[in-house]
Amino acid sequence: MTLTAFPPPPPGTDYDDLRQEVRAFLAKELADFPPEKRAESWNGFSRDFSRKLAQRGWVGMTFPKEYGGHARSALERYVVSEELLAAGAPVISHWIADRQSGPLILAKGTDDQKRRIVPRIAAGELCFCIGMSEPDSGSDLAATRTVATEVEGGFRINGTKVWTTYAHVADYMILFCRTGKSDDRHGGMSQFLVDLKATDNIQISPIIDLGGEHHFNQVVFDNTFLPSDALLGEKGEGWSQVMSELAFERSGPERFLSSFALIEELIRLLREDATEAQQAEIGRLSAHLMVLRQMSRSVAGMLNEGKNPSLQAAIVKDLGALFEQDIPRLARSLVTRPAVPGGRDSYAAVLAYTELAVPSFSLRGGTREILRGIIARGLGLR
């Protein structure tokens, strides 16, 4: 039963020197970064931080050198990713581009697209957003209505995207939309590279999330013109392109470390004198974390070998979301301090922030129900 086998990462892939370098860098850069900010995890935005990270060679690590990358392995990138997440560094400005848009452009883009864009991603200069979801198309991505109509010199886009994280600051969107009719539900879809700063007739408006923050947006395309060289990959191949992107999107350490700031706060409080019952809970939490890391590193190893571990990625994301969503409950069962949004006490503030963040963990990037459907299909059901 291969679905339950996660081969160990190859020997010699601890990259301890790299890890220590990243730790030293973060200790310096984030010396005054408070726990409440760290709690934002990979939702924290700082162009400045992303640029500095890129200067160290830690953005676009796996990209080829000819496109400004560093030709390093997915397992080295994994080390940097998890250190950033564990420290709660503000990484979203480059995160999506580094994780999935860059690899997608490298795999499917034209030479010109690769040359124009990938080096700037590797320099930490470009922020990308993902234009998949729509008002009537969430889990059912094939129900996409946004349409691109071929016109002289390019395409006209009409439609509305929602929940587009950081569209209001991003430089590019990778837009998923319809380009033709097809009997196959998954046919007739394409992807486009949309230059958000240089394209007219795109209206981006904020949607305030549960925690009162402006992370995601509604993006309206109103007869928006895109030149033909905005098409990414083959026309009509959008569905399979999006599906291969999802293995990158779903398997990383951000799928189980989103509540890590709260874990650190909790441990800090329990360190002095923990009861046996508290020790036992921390023991269980540690076991989960050790194992999720190993699974995620295993997937990085598979990606490195050019395999498509999308089923394994779905398993890691499902288990990872359960873990990170359970942390507020666990904290509240071990410590009697109430949550206070923005409170002076860092534990109280981080707990409040995390409590309001966790409902999204099993929605974004594919809901729990959708992931379980994918796993069930992988088991040979349906």
Binding site: M1, T4, D14, E264, E281, S286, V291, L379
Partner: protein, 352 residues
């Protein structure tokens, strides 16, 4: 991982470990002929280093046999014999062949009486003791770990069994040990509890893979309301949950097997045993839910596997023993942060 020894074990056990054999063993019948085949195939020696008469299989691969034995519900002490032989070899004691088993030796008192060493104490719930020739254990003498090889026929054995009907016997030890029965362990390995927990975690992962496979098969075959129950989303999601738990347990157990005889082992084996125990709870419950009433009988094979994984939770340290232990480590670790503890705990060159 391609492995000749795994393929061989898989074929041997597939052909011989039947529902009938498991049922007979659960009612007290020792599967004699099968043990002979297992020994002839050399499986029991797989964890012994080449220099001591083994055949140079990497430890993680040798330990993979335990997962395969778990997947077949093998009612014989293969896992125990693997570990026992490895410990005898490690202490330069003779390898007697035959069925061996292992026990935690903390309750034994060793005492030097002239030239001989005397062992006395009570061993509890020793796996397969009454079917074994020797019990191999680790106990302390003068501050040093010693490996003991205790001939079962010279002990008083009081039979009992686990939930699956497998022998778990108490043994009264009061014995003068010969030179061939005891020797110090030059390189300690942390006692029998960790090794036992390792093999139970691996076997649990294997058994859960079988439980998952049986459950998928049953869901595709059983028709209600005019279609296979596997078409119902509630059933699909339960199976997906079982797959996740099984995958996590197998990963955890293999992580521990991969750090066998390294400093990381003390922590990875804790994670493996904890994860296996938690998964056993969920996977067992969901498998029985999916199988309906037929799964709640002795006619169906499911019970041989679910009872085993439930029993193994409590052996070689209960889940509570291991969660407390790992938690104590995590909270008192000398590292700067909890995160450093987590990365170091699984590092190949672990400092834990």
């Amino acid at each position: 991982m391609e492995s000749m020894i795994h393929d061989m074990a898989e074929r041997l056990l597939r052909d011989h470990v039947t529902h009938r054999l498991r049922a007979a063993a659960a009612s007290g019948q020792r599967p004699e002929a099968l043990w002979t085949r297992i020994e002839e195939a050399g499986l029991a020696m797989a964890l012994v280093p080449e220099a001591a008469g083994g055949f140079g299989v990497p430890p993680a691969e040798a330990l993979g046999l335990v997962r395969i034995a778990g997947a077949h519900g093998l009612p014989l002490p293969l896992a125990e014999t693997l570990i026992a032989n490895a410990m005898l070899a490690r202490a330069d004691l003779p390898l007697p062949g035959g069925r061996l088993t292992i026990a935690e030796g903390e309750a034994l008192r060793l005492e030097r009486r002239g030239a001989t060493i005397h062992a006395r104490g009570h061993l509890t719930l020793v796996p397969f003791a009454r079917w074994a020739d020797r019990i191999v254990t680790i106990a302390v003498l003068g501050g040093d770990d010693h490996v003991l090889s205790l001939p079962v026929k010279e002990l008083t054995v009081d039979p009992a069994q686990d939930l699956a009907g497998m022998p778990r016997d108490d043994a009264e030890v009061d014995l003068a040990l010969t030179e061939a029965d005891v020797a110090p362990l030059a390189r300690p390995i942390g006692g029998m509890r960790g090794l036992g927990a390792l093999v139970r975690s691996l076997a649990t992962a294997g058994a859960m893979e079988t439980i998952l496979e049986m459950s998928v098969q049953y869901a595709n075959d059983r028709v209600q309301f005019g279609r296979p129950i596997g078409k119902f989303q509630a059933i699909q999601h339960n199976l997906a949950t079982m797959a996740g738990e099984t995958a996590a347990s197998r990963t955890a157990a293999e992580m521990a097997a991969g750090s066998y005889d390294t400093p990381a082992f003390a922590l990875t084996v804790a994670a493996a045993k904890i994860r296996a125990g938690e998964a056993a709870e969920k996977v067992g419950a969901l498998a029985h839910q999916i199988h309906g009433a037929i799964g709640y009988t002795q006619e169906h094979s499911l019970h041989h596997f679910t009872k085993r994984i439930w029993s193994w939770r409590d052996e070689f340290g209960t889940e509570l023993d291991w969660t407390r232990k790992l938690g104590r480590f995590a909270l008192s670790n000398p590292h700067d942060t909890f995160w450093h503890f987590i990365t170091d705990s699984t590092a190949q060159g672990a400092r834990a």
